[in-house]
Amino acid sequence: MRYSGMRILAEGLTGNRGWGPAWRTPEPRPAYDIVIIGGGGHGLSTAYYLARNHGLKNIAVLEKGYLGSGNIGRNTTIVRANYFLPGNSEFYSHSLKLWEGLERELNYNVMHSQRGLINLFHSDGQRDAFARRGNAMINQGDDAILLDRDGVRAMLPYLDFEQTRFPIYGGLYHPRGGTARHDAVAWGYARGADRLGVDLIQNCEVTGIDIAGGRVTGVQTTRGAIRAGKVGIVVAGRSGQVAAMAGLRLPVESHILQAFVTEGLKPAIDHVISFGMGHFYISQSDKGGLVFGGDLDFYASYASRGNLPMVEHVMEAGMTLMPMIGRAKVLRSWGGIMDMTPDGSPIIDRTPVDGLFIDCGWNYGGFKAVPASGWCMAHLMATGTPHEVARRFRLDRFATGHILDEEGTGSQHNLH
């Protein structure tokens, strides 16, 4: 069924009896040409573009829980293309362009809102670094405007500009940055993939990867063995465990990132604001809740919940930046498992096992990457060669020294 304004009107007038499920619930078949492990944003977009861009049929996505139960439904929904390093820059630029046509492409409302992102700076040195980043963004064909303090004040009058710890010098404004509704992105790709014939199999945990003569032949699951010509591992925070099923050790350590949301309030914060110096960022959801977060908890964890010291730290940073939010009540907080790499950049590559591919290492920035990651992973799996904009996301780059350390913080998993 195509979704449209007319359809909503017609259904509204006839008791909403015509809506059906957005995708099928098929039984797993004994064999597929391609199996994607993981039904998060990246797994679903990979399956979608395998069918859409490469005309492939006979694809299954195997998800251990329900679709969108992982990080795709836990993130703070920021979509941006403000990267600096060659390798990252062209990839996120490609992704943002895909975002800008995504709703039409999927016939699904992902509530993509280009409300603008402002990264604050607090010293002359940081201003220089942001000016340089802005130039890199413009060279890449994206948009960036360097705002001085008055420029920021005109847009965000409610910030505490005079705070003694980190007085605000200005901000780098990325007008095309913004947010999207996270689970709608999973649902939109799921529905799109299903309509192109992809089998989405939920409650199906992969427990083993079958390899014969150096080539992948299928997977073992909680719903039986499934043979496959090619297999893609797209499991974000669980990458280490699933790769271990194929005897691989990854440059990945899983860490916890927390997020918070307040009660719904009248519209007050019109942009996405990032206060990197204080480890805090915030936006307001369409429901009115203030959505905010900070840094990792900084220790390896699979707990899906964090510890109180980081809660306190994030609240303090928020109060430093914008005391006006002090009386908003926090309704919920949660954590997600982040697949951290030593340089903070992702991996989309072949593995040493023939026919086995991996897409991982998204750190805390993989939501904005969902369209381009699926696009590039599908290209790699279908053609056997890396896509132009993802060719530096190599699995062996730590061994060869071709690292992509966007933040310049060094070779330790929790520092990015």
Partner: protein
């Protein structure tokens, strides 16, 4: 989370800096093959469950190896890295 320092007793997590899995204690020989150095610096088992990882206790200035569950956050003990034989195991 509270972490037992062998010297100071059980202390608030905020007194500690995190370094990562104890792979860092198994430093390859200076002339080891590049693959050994890559594994030492970058590759991790990354278990969901028991892990021994390294924390620095700032007040007493010592590195400790903590036996910790990454799923439940339970801590099953800690030893001073200095007691592990010259920092190597």
């Amino acid at each position: 989370m509270r972490i037992p320092c062998p010297h100071c007793g059980t202390r608030d997590r905020r007194e500690f800096y995190y370094y990562g899995a104890d792979d860092y204690l198994r430093r390859p020989a200076a002339d080891a093959a590049p693959a050994a150095w890559d594994a030492y610096l970058h590759l991790r088992d990354n278990p969901a469950g028991r892990l021994r990882d390294l924390w620095y206790h700032e007040p007493c200035g010592s590195w400790i190896a903590v036996d910790r569950d990454t799923v439940s956050h339970d801590i099953h003990g800690a030893v001073a890295v200095a007691d592990l034989g010259g920092g190597r195991t």
